[in-house]
Amino acid sequence: MKAAAFDYHRATSVDDAIQQLGAADDAKVLAGGQSLVPLLAMRLARPTVLVDLNRLADLAYVRRENGELAIGALTRHRTVETAELVRRDVPLLADALAHVGHVTIRNRGTIGGSIAHGDPAAELPAVAVALDATFRLRGPGGERSVAAGDFFFGYLMTALEPDELLTEIRWPVLPQGTGCAVEELTRRNGDFALVAVFAALTMGADGVCTQARISVAGAAAAPLRADNAEQALIGSRVSAADAGAAADRLAAATDPPNDIHAPADYRREMAAVLGRRAIQRAWAQANRTNAGE
């Protein structure tokens, strides 16, 4: 288990990184290395050049800008998970990060790396899809923004071009009266999810749901936005029956993989169970927030 030989370039700026990516045929970006270095060791990835972003300190930040939270692509999972701003403004992201691997993995893994890797069972792509995050990408032709909903195509396939860098992820701040919940099924603590549901529900003071954001990981070739379940909840009081019906809709929309880890039917059934739990927990938390608890 040793990587094949490659060249190594320590990027000195974003532009330098982009230039290096364009200069070689199979160059690859190295961020936290928590997915890429194992792939190198197994020789599932055999780049000719690695462009290391780790010294680009200006790609690591969490700041509030125009009602959004802007997080630099190189910010470590653990930094984001423990950031006060994230806990306050986008708590679903902090909750989800606690499910990514283990602390040691999160010390090194980066937000941008998780998004760029695009694993359909990973937490961050699914949260980004639920919350309508936007990704800022930079390439030789300049900068563009892509909505999370348009970014993930399929297993490890994204809208990123080979010579583009993901530089920033922008998260809309969740409104007052929002409750969040993550429900995840794994065989062992820290594993990738067999299925996971991410929910953020906003409840009005009158007890009626005004906004619902729900997504599922591990349920299709790309993270799945459960818009049918969201529509069923908005305008309702989120009774137990409403939650169950919405979760059934969510499960019906999944197209889960059938693999050695779990059969598709089992994953679909678990999507319904986890969906109901996530919706009910998010609802209860939103009501507690509204009650000033």
Binding site: A4, D7, Y8, Q34, M42, R108
Partner: protein, 172 residues
């Protein structure tokens, strides 16, 4: 400053890169190939064989070290990336021939059998207790869930960490 290191075409030996790192307070300088992991560099080039390699792809935790103050899997990073960093391996825990409180507790409580997972367990437990000085058994289990042990069944490891916790808490 741009520093591009030329590696090599398939099958040939890449140009070596100079790497300077401080391990357990001692500064080392050695040359290595870009593809060399920090784990292999520590073991093979610098002789810190307390860094154990189980899976070489991030899942067993045996190779866990502290890198600039937080834990990292040394099989999941390249030695070149650690250039300029400070690393602590299990060899750096004991001071002046005196076992670290965690080592003492592992010894006392039979927290190891074959000892293969132990360096990684100790490094992980150090960080766990620094973050959470009074963890419950449940929190300890969660904290070490990324470190696999094939011998102990974990119970004695949990008890060892529980025993060490009060000794590592700053006096109040």
């Amino acid at each position: 400053m741009s520093d591009h290191v030329n590696g090599a075409a398939e099958g040939t030996v890449a140009n070596k890169v100079p790497v300077t790192i401080t391990v357990n307070g001692r500064t080392h300088r050695a040359d290595c190939e870009p593809r060399t992991t920090l784990a292999d560099f520590l073991r093979e080039d610098l002789g810190y064989t307390g860094v154990h390699l189980g899976c070489e792809h991030g899942v067993c935790g045996a190779c866990t070290v502290q890198l600039d103050g937080s834990t990292a899997r040394s099989c999941c990073m390249l030695a070149v990336q650690a250039d300029g960093s400070e690393v602590t391996t299990v060899e750096g825990l004991a001071e002046d021939g005196q076992l670290h409180p965690l080592q003492e507790a592992f010894w006392n409580r039979h927290g190891l059998q074959c000892g293969f997972c132990t360096p990684g367990m100790l490094m992980t437990a150090c960080e766990l207790l620094a973050d959470n000085p009074d963890p419950s058994a449940e929190e300890i289990r969660e904290g070490i869930s990324g470190n696999l042990c094939r011998c102990t069944g974990y119970q004695f490891i949990v008890e060892s960490i529980q025993e060490a916790a009060p000794k590592m808490r700053p006096a109040t």
